[in-house]
Each structure stands twice: as C-alpha cells, then as structure tokens.
Amino acid sequence: MSTTIIWTIAIIALLGLVLAVVLYLVAERFKVVEDPRIDEVEKVMPGANCGGCGFAGCRAFADAAVKAPNLDNNYCPVGGNEVMKKVAAILGYEIKEKAPMVAVVRCNGSCEARPRTNDYDGYASCRVKAALYSGDTGCSFGCLGCGDCVSACQFGALSMDPATGLPVVDESKCTACGACAKACPKAIIELRPKGPRGMRMYVSCVNKDKGPSVKQACANACIGCGICFKTCQHGAIVFENNVAYIDPAKCKFCRECEAMCPTGAIHGVNFPKPIDKDAIKARIKERNAKAAEAAKAAAAEPKKEEA
C-alpha cells in the first residue's frame, strides 16, 4: 500500500519536473523581445481601444509611439494632454498640446422643422438608408436619424433625442475619438475644439442647396443668406456652397451671428448667460450707424477741403 503511494508521488513529481523544464525551454525559445517601454506606455493609456488615434488599439498606439521619432503624429484624443504628457515623460519626447475637442452634431432639422416626405421601411441603419435615397425629408444633407453614430460610440456619449429625432452629444462622456464622425454617412458630425469653459459657436446645418429650396425643406436650416458673414467683425465666418461655417480659431464668441441668423441655424452653447438677441441687435445697429456716419463724414471731409 505505502509503496504504491510512494511510487505515485515519485512519478508525478518527476513528470512535473520534466514538464516544467520543457515549458521553460519552450518559453525561452519563443520569447519575443519587446521594448519594455511599450508596456509602460500602454499602462498610462486610457485602455478604451477605441481607435480614435488611428491605430487598432491602445497597445498598437503604444507600439507606434515608442517607434516614432517624435510624438507629432501620435495623439490620443481620449486621454488628451494629460495622458500624452505621461507618454512623453516615459519616452522623453516633447508634445504639442492640443485643445480638447468634442463631437458636434451639425444638423438641427428636428421633426417639427423638417416635414417628412417619405417613410422608411428597411434595416435601421443610416448607411443603408443613405445608399438608397436622400432621406425622409426634403433635405438631402441632414441627419437620417437611424443612429449609426449612437451605435458607433463606445463611450455612451451619444443618444437619439426622440423629440427631435437628432443625436445628442453628452459632453462629459465624449472623448473626441471621432468614431461617430466616421460612422455618419452624411458627415454632419464634426470634431470641434471644446472652447474656453466649453463655450462654442457653430452652424448647425450642412445643407448646400440654394436658399428657397432649403427653406422649403427645413425651417432651421442655413439658407445661405450671408447675414452672419456680413455681421462678423472677426472674419470667423467662411461662406461656401450656400452654407456658412464658423472657423473655431477665429471666433471671439461675441454671439452677433447667432443673434442675427434668421433661421436659428447658428448655435452658441455653454455660455454663462442666455443670449439677449435684442441687446446684440441694438449694439450692431448702433455700430453700423456710427460706421455709416463715419463713412459719411469721411466722404464729406474732402469736399470741405476742396471748398
């Protein structure tokens, strides 16, 4: 009896030993030599594997960052400057700080504003719908409302508002990875700088049609009237293809364009105070009057001299 036990123990011990040696040898033989900094960088990454940086996941980013000569082309939008500083510290590189970004939905054609002309009866996907036709409304540029952006978002930052039929971005959750912008077949989602204290101005419309037909299709659309362009004192408004665009680098948040926009297509968000359109309009009127006077005076002055 006892000899059986002893033999059993001996054989199993021996077997364990032999296998351990084999495992060790195999592990040594197939060892992959990796830069240990890749692991270090990966540790400080957000770990979302969202692909917002352009790489397949956080480890792929870490690998690329370690191999790159500098960090100019590698930036993790999710981690932002904070994470990138850590990465730079590990690798001994400098980083260019970037302004934090946020996804902005550039369509405000809500259900009320855009009368429906068609009903859709197919697979609920914006891509499928976009390949088929222009959408359920007269606007062939706006949101299709099937929520491809919502399903593309890994951070739960997007949701469809049932009242408007448009996606809503939760700024606190948005990491600016850009997945929604890529998923949208109409390209209405744009990554824009978050702005000081979150303040942002943007044109919430991308319709390139001419004014009258746009007006018919959607009450909230940019009709390309150009009033904002004329109003803006900072040259921040780019006017192209019948639609206005606010250059975030030049915008000074004066909100004059927002006050003047006849359709309400220009949105200002996260301002401490609600907009007082009348006050701004009065201000613009005053300024214009002064400018007109000055112009008159300027025109009149040389006459005096002549006289």
Binding site: T117, N118, D119, Y120, D121, G122, V128, L132, D136
Partner: protein, 325 residues
Amino acid sequence: MEKLLVSPSPHIHASVSTKSLMRDVVLALLPAAIVSIVFYGIGEIVVLGTSVISCLVLEYLITKYLLKKECSVGDWSAVVTGLLLALNLPASTPWWVVFAGAVVAIGVAKMTFGGLGQNVFNPALVGRVFLLVSFPTYMTNWQIPGGLFGADAVAGATPLGVIKEGLLGGAQLSDLTAQYNWSDMLFANIGGSAGEISALALLAGFGYLLLRKVVRPYITLSIWATVAIVSLAFSLAAPDKFTGPLFNLLAGGMILGSCFMATDYVTSPMSILGGIIFGIGIGFITMMIRYFGSYPEGMSFAILIMNATVPLLNNWFHQKKYGRA
C-alpha cells in the same frame, strides 16, 4: 403631398414566416398525436395537454418576466417543443414529470441560450433525456396500446427493450423478433412512447412537411441509409445477435427522431453536405447504442451528440457557389 414608403429591394415577400413554418410542423405532428390519443386514451391527453400548455406558459413567463423581452409565444415554436416532448414520453407519465420535462426543455435548453434560433440542443430532446435519467421508472413504464375506448392498456416493454433484455438474458434473437411483424410496427401495434408507436402517422406528417417544402429530406434519408447499412452489415455478420434493417428502421424513436427531431432547423447543419454527414453520425451512433450500449434506444442521445457538432459542420461545409470551384 402623399408620403411614399421607401425601402431597399426586394419589395415583396414570400408568404412564409417563422409562424407559418412552425404551424406546419404542428400540423404534421397532429396525425401522430391523434393516433396516440386513440390508442392510449386519457393518459395521453394528459401528457400532451400538460406538455404543450406548460411549454407555452413557461415561454411566456420567461420572456416576459425573466428576460423582459418581447413575448415570443406567438411564433408557435413552444407548441412544437411541447408536442415533440409529449410524443417522446410514455402515456402513463404523471403530469408533474411532464411539467419537469417542459421546464428543462424551455427553461434550460431553449431560453438560457436566448430563445428560438439560439439554442444548441434540441429542447424537446434535452427535456426527454433529462426525464430519462432522472425518472427512469416512469420513463420506461411502457404500455401496449389499449385504446381510447377499449380495454385497459397492458404494461409492457418496447420492442427494443424486450430484445435488449432478452439478449442479456440469453434468449434467442429469432424468438424475440418473432413477436413483432413490420405491419404492427407501421400501424401502431407495438409498445413504446406515444410518438414511437405509429410510424405511418409520423411518415404522413413528414410527407406533408416535404410537400410544403418546410424541410429538406437529406438529413432523414442519410439517417435511414446509415441505419439500414449498419444494421444490414451487423445482422448479416451475426444474425443471432443483431437485429436487421427493417426492424431497426421502424422500432423505437427512429421515425420520430429522423423526421422531426434531427431535421429541427436550429440544431441541424445548414448545408446539404453538412446535413448528410450529420445524418450519418446520428444513424451510426444510434446503432452503436442499440447494439452495444446499456440503453435499448439511442436516437435521443445520438441526435444530441450530433447537435453539438453542428457549429463545426457549418464551419466546414458550405454550399457550392456559382462560378467557383
């Protein structure tokens, strides 16, 4: 202005739905159910009723309160499971045993995987096998059909059981098989679970399914062919030990299993070649269990074992594509 409906093509749909397919299967099982009621009487009504009703109620309760999904009772699949389970049980099974079988079939084998279309194993068979190993006394209490209005049914073993017991007891195979002739087996004159007794009613139902193009015949035919070949080979090699093809094709759950359980959409392969291999596997395993196993019947086990190989078969065998070698 009128609002036009827009959708990708195609714009029309065949008049077929999950519901209509399941209803066809129910219709196809009705002859067998009626025959077994006629032969077994009240007991069978209790088994059938309990099984179908508890399957429906369980599916309703589970989808509504546990999974909180949309209720799927309307698709008739629970009725199919209930009918198949009942036809796999002896008519003398007490209602609470049937109910336990339904709980396992619907609750464990179907719903834990996500409901219709997601399950790996045939729910009715899982229910049956669960009962077979848990309540062997009830599950082997077979009756020789007495009839709805006739004399009381006589308790007795199934042909497969009689032969297995007999052979173990040293009896001669020829003496044992002499008590069964194939016309009795076709016309419900043998002992067995409700669905095993009338091959003809089951075949009629299967014919209906083929006619309606609900199922394809490949799986069934390949099971039959395998069973025939295997039993022919064995019975020729040792006629005193192994039963022959005709007996094996008609006895036990062969017809019910090959026509209705193995051809279950969800748990059978999608391609024709995969289906044929699936059928060969079922036929072979069944015969091995019948000849060498400790259970007299192996159909349920064979189907469940082959169910497990379906994902692999689906991965390996694809149908022939146009313009590709």
